[in-house]
Structure formats: structure tokens, C-alpha cells
């Protein structure tokens, strides 16, 4: 336990001294928040609330980039092998990476929620417990994916290629960038095989529909199972030595991380509610937005039309 805390403190400290960390973990997520809220939602509180799920989802998913890159750098530079000669274990190294990443991601998520509430006047942030649970399990499970990537790639170049290959479908098909309901039926069904879809879907339900934890059990349970599997795989594949290359067959282990969502995707396509719920949520947001748009001009009229003001005056 002491080793774990010692390493976690070090990882947090090093990240805070890293300019890349500031850019990718603070500036970029906050930049996305303003892009979504200010430009895409045009500051409309109801739309901002709808887009908050995708924004938080992007922030949480990004965990795997930083974790894989740092671990591979540590291995390539021979830093890991220095720790190998101490009583610190592979589990200490892996879990401390996840804990540090969690500690560093949470403040940005809180900042995004506060900005939505106080700068864009989102009337309700939904169910905060559900948001907290989804952000937490999402951050640690996507962080674990980063650890598997670090374990199955031999060089930083390979790591970046694999990160890109995973990142693009995760952000474009999950509803994190393109609204899920705008995707074609086929693409929506493909998206059901991605963990990111369940994360973003869960966050939207927690924020827009104020679903409590009991109503978002599917994303919570699936991401938890995924976390356990990815952490187990990364601990089995962990390598301290830079020259300890991994064989092609072992690289297939990365495919094993897809198993839970492969099964879930098949089940969800047949019996599930994700696609239907997405439609309902979108419809609800559009209706609320339309009525808001209708209410606004009426209020403006009331405040500028002198006759109306006269009408409002008490008659003798």
C-alpha cells in the first residue's frame, strides 16, 4: 500500500510538471467544453446540458492516451527497470498509474460541471451520483486500456499508431462528437460494440434524464467488467525491460479486451434500449429547446411592447 501511494504521488507530481499533460488533460478538454457549449450549443442551457455528456466522455476516454505513452516512455528509457530492483511490484506500477490519472482527471471534470452550471446556466446537472460513478469507472477503465496498449506495443511509435486506431472510432461512433441519432442505423449498431458508446450514453442519461445509479447499471456494470479484464491483462503482459519485446501472438491479447463489449453489443442489438433511449433523449432536448425558443421571443415582446405594458397596468 505504501509503495502504491509513493508511486501515485510521484506520477501526479511528474504530470503537473509536464507541459503535454497541461495541454492534453486541461487545456484541450476545457477547450472542447467551450467549443461544444459556446459554438455547437450556442450557449442554450438545454443543449449545453445535452452536450455535457459527450464533453465529459471525451475527457474520460482521453485517459488511455496519456497512460500508455507515459508507461512506454518509462520502459524505453529504462526507468521501469530501476523500480524493478526495489520492492515495488508490477501491480503497484499499474494501479498507481490509474490512481494518478484519476486524481488528475477529476478536477477537470468538476471544472466542466461548474462552468456548465454557473457560466452557461444549465438548469440541472442531473444525477450527480451517477455522473460521479460513471466518470470514476470510465476514467479507470479507459486508463486500464492505456496500460494494455503499453503492454502490447514495443515502441512509442507503435503505441501512437494503436492509440490513433482506437481513438478515432471511439470518438466518432460513440456519440461523443457526432450526435448518436445522426448516425445511420448500421453505424449505430456498430457503435454498440464500443465501450465509449455506453459511457457517453450513460452520462447523457445521468445529466439530461437525471437517471440515478439504478437506471444506469448497464454502462456501470459493463465498464466495471471491462476494467477488471483490462487490468488483469495488463498485469499479465507487463514488462519492466526495454528489450523484452512482446510476440505477435501476445498482441492478440489486446483483442481480448473487446470481448465484454462484443457480447454486450450482440445482446444490446437484439434486446437493448440504448438506441431507443438515445432517440427519446434527443427528442426531449429538441422539444425543450423549441419551447424555450418560443418562450424567449414572447418574453422579449412583453418587455418591449408599450401596449402590453399598458395592458399589464391595473385598470381603474
Amino acid at each position: 500500500m505504501t509503495n502504491l501511494l509513493t508511486l501515485t504521488r510521484m506520477r501526479v507530481r511528474l504530470a503537473l510538471r509536464n507541459k503535454m499533460f497541461f495541454f492534453f488533460s486541461i487545456i484541450m478538454p476545457i477547450g472542447f467544453f467551450f467549443l461544444y457549449s459556446g459554438v455547437f450549443a450556442k450557449g442554450e442551457p438545454i443543449v449545453v446540458a445535452y452536450l455535457l455528456g459527450p464533453v465529459l466522455g471525451l475527457n474520460v476516454m482521453g485517459s488511455f492516451w496519456g497512460l500508455s505513452a507515459t508507461l512506454v516512455t518509462f520502459r524505453e528509457q529504462g526507468i521501469l527497470r530501476r523500480f524493478h530492483v526495489t520492492p515495488a511490484t508490477a501491480t503497484d506500477m499499474l494501479v498507481s498509474s490509474i490512481l494518478a490519472n484519476y486524481a488528475l482527471t477529476l478536477p477537470t471534470v468538476i471544472a466542466e460541471l461548474l462552468l456548465a452550471k454557473f457560466l452557461f446556466h444549465v438548469p440541472s446537472l442531473g444525477d450527480l451520483t451517477s455522473i460521479f460513478l460513471l466518470v470514476s469507472i470510465g476514467t479507470i477503465s479507459f486508463g486500464s486500456l492505456g496500460l494494455v496498449i503499453a503492454s502490447v506495443t514495443n515502441t512509442m511509435q507503435e503505441t501512437q499508431v494503436l492509440n490513433q486506431l482506437l481513438w478515432l472510432p471511439l470518438i466518432f461512433l460513440s456519440g461523443a462528437t457526432i450526435p448518436f441519432t445522426s448516425l445511420s442505423k448500421t453505424v449505430q449498431h456498430i457503435a454498440l460494440f464500443l465501450p465509449a458508446t455506453y459511457l457517453v450514453h450513460g452520462l447523457k442519461n445521468a445529466i439530461v434524464n437525471a437517471f440515478g445509479p439504478d437506471k444506469i447499471l448497464l454502462p456501470l456494470a459493463s465498464l466495471t467488467v471491462w476494467f477488471v479484464l483490462t487490468l488483469f491483462l495488463s498485469s499479465q503482459l507487463f514488462r519492466w525491460e526495454p528489450e523484452a519485446k512482446i510476440g505477435r501472438r501476445a498482441k492478440l491479447y489486446v483483442a481480448a479486451t473487446a470481448i465484454p463489449f462484443l457480447l454486450l453489443g450482440v445482446w444490446e442489438a437484439r434486446y437493448g434500449r440504448v438506441i431507443a433511449e438515445e432517440k427519446v433523449t434527443m427528442q426531449r432536448v429538441e422539444d425543450s429547446d423549441r419551447s424555450e425558443q418560443r418562450r424567449k421571443p414572447r418574453e422579449q415582446e412583453q418587455s418591449t411592447d408599450p401596449t402590453r405594458l399598458d395592458d399589464a397596468k391595473p385598470r381603474n
Binding site: 505504501t2 509513493t6 510521484m10 529504462g78 526507468i79 530501476r82 530492483v85
Partner: protein
């Protein structure tokens, strides 16, 4: 060996087709500085990394402080300190933070401030690792190796890649540890390092120990012969030069001739006479007192740095 803290018997290690270690055996007594001397690729690092628990041996018996590194690695790691050959620390880690970080892993800890003072790093306590010179990085590595007050310290090529002045600084530090009766196992390919720092040396070549003893014993085994190294204008036969008066043996090494002799003046006179007779010329001549390099040349026919 009655008070040995480290025993190695018939150690073997193979990487694919390469047999890196072929049946190495030795013991190290408490308070002793033991050196594994040999050229690059001789199997020194593989051996020391098996002792540290970083690699598993294919066969053989290893005991360090009474622990088997393969099965009792967790216990062993509390008892040993190590400065590895190819390693680093994160660039943005400060010197003092590095010592505190590593101290956090052990049950037994030394005061980081005392170690900073001892290794002359007080002024650098707040410097980032990336801001340190090669010598300072190595001194920090040694300080970290001692943070848990280890029973055995492993130093893998502690001065490799450092300039001669910095190398001498590191020698002073290791000599201080030796005075403190710290048990040290070091690997090196520098003759001077082995002769100056080690109580006993094992000469390693092609994964085997080819000679073992105190530096003095090893040199005596090569009959305390003075080495004369000459470069000639034209080639000569090794056999002919080896039979000159006063010369014990002759080997050709990279275009030079290395003559071992017990009576150097006589050997030089007979060599000059021979060259005159052959109408050959002496381009250069160097005389050196016997060293472990000569022992290595005698045993392998090669120089250590070849």
C-alpha cells in the same frame, strides 16, 4: 567461505541462440568488494542481474543474503541496493524527491539528507534529474542504491561512459564504501577500476570465469612479467620474437607485438639487435608493469577492450 553473503554455483543463462552465462560459480564474503572483470558481452551484466532478481537463471544455484532471488525476490529486494547499467529516472524528478521516493519503498531507510551530503549533491537537491551531469547522475544512482542501508550493493559498470576525472570521483565514493566494510559486487571492463577497488576479481570471458583471485594473486599467476608493447615497420614472426633472449612469450595484437618478459632490459637489447639484423625498424615501444590486462591477454589472446 565461512562468512559468505553471496553464493553462485554453476549459473547458466541463454538468450535465444546466445549462451550468455556458462556455469559461473563464485562466493562473496561479508565486507568484501568483488569484481566481475571482462569485455562487453562477457556475461557480467546477465550474472549481476540474476543476482538482483531482475532476470531468472536457466540453471544453477544463487543465494544472496540467504535468499533465492527467483523465489524470494520480495524479501531480497529489501536487503540489496543496486546501481544499474542502463537506467534513468524521470527527467522532471528533483534529486531530493528521488531519494524520498526510493526511501518510501523500504522498511529500513537512511536519512536522504545525509546521503546528499555524503555524495556531494547538496547543492543539487532541488535540481531536476535532466539538469544533472553524467557524474552527478551516477552519484545520485549510488546514493539511491544505499537508501535502504543494504547488506549487499550491486554496481553494474559504475563508471562506464564517464570521463576520467568523473570516474576518479566515483572511485573515491566506492573506496569510501569499501572502508565502511560494505559488501559490494561490481562489474567493470576497466582494468584500473578492478585493480583499485576490488578485494577479489573474477575475470569473465564468453560467459565463463577464466580466473579468480585477488588482483595480486592473478598478476602473480601470470608470473609477474613486464609487458613490452612494440610497433614495427615490417611484420615479424611471433614465434621468432617469443624466443628472443629475455622474452617469455609474444603475441600479435592489432598490428602491435606484446612481449612478456621477466628481464625487460635484456629483452629490449635482444629485440633491437634482432631488428637491426632483419633490417626492420622500431616504430614505437611501451613498457608497462604487469596488470590484469596482461592476465586477460595471456588467458584469452585478446585485449579487454577488443
Amino acid at each position: 567461505m565461512p562468512n559468505s553473503v553471496l553464493q553462485v554455483e554453476n549459473l547458466t543463462k541463454r538468450y535465444g541462440d546466445v549462451q550468455a552465462v556458462r556455469g559461473i560459480s563464485f562466493q562473496v564474503a561479508e565486507g568484501e568488494v568483488f569484481g566481475l572483470l571482462g569485455p562487453n558481452g562477457a556475461g557480467k551484466t546477465s550474472t549481476i542481474e540474476i543476482l538482483e532478481g531482475l532476470r531468472d537463471a536457466d540453471a544453477g544455484m544463487v543465494s544472496v543474503c540467504g535468499y533465492d532471488p527467483r523465489t524470494q525476490g520480495d524479501e531480497l529486494k529489501h536487503e540489496i541496493g543496486a546501481a544499474l547499467q542502463s537506467t534513468a529516472l524521470p527527467d522532471k524528478l528533483r534529486v531530493m524527491e528521488a531519494l524520498h521516493l526510493f526511501a518510501g519503498f523500504y522498511k529500513r531507510r537512511k536519512n536522504p539528507d545525509d546521503l546528499l551530503k555524503r555524495f556531494g549533491l547538496e547543492e543539487k537537491r532541488n535540481a531536476f534529474y535532466s539538469q544533472l551531469s553524467g557524474g552527478q547522475k551516477q552519484r545520485l544512482a549510488l546514493a539511491i542504491a544505499l537508501i535502504n542501508d543494504p547488506k549487499v550493493v550491486f554496481l553494474d559498470e559504475p563508471t562506464a561512459g564517464l570521463d576520467p576525472q568523473v570516474r576518479r570521483e566515483i572511485y573515491d565514493v566506492i573506496e569510501e564504501l569499501r572502508r565502511d566494510k560494505k559488501t559490494i559486487v561490481l562489474t567493470t571492463h576497466y582494468i584500473e577500476e578492478a585493480e583499485r577497488l576490488c578485494d577479489r576479481v573474477a575475470i569473465v570471458d564468453h560467459g565463463q570465469i577464466i580466473a579468480q583471485g585477488t588482483p595480486r594473486e592473478l598478476k602473480q599467476a601470470s608470473a609477474d612479467k613486464t609487458r613490452i608493447e612494440v610497433r614495427l615497420a615490417r611484420e615479424e614472426s611471433e614465434a621468432t620474437l617469443g624466443t628472443l633472449e629475455g622474452v617469455s612469450d609474444c603475441r600479435s595484437l592489432n598490428g602491435n607485438y606484446v612481449l612478456h618478459c621477466q628481464r625487460p632490459p635484456q629483452a629490449i637489447v635482444s629485440l633491437v639487435k634482432h631488428l637491426e639484423a632483419q633490417n626492420n625498424e622500431l616504430v614505437s615501444l611501451e613498457i608497462a608493469t604487469p596488470s590484469l590486462e596482461d592476465v586477460f591477454i595471456e588467458l584469452t589472446g585478446r585485449r579487454l577492450r577488443d
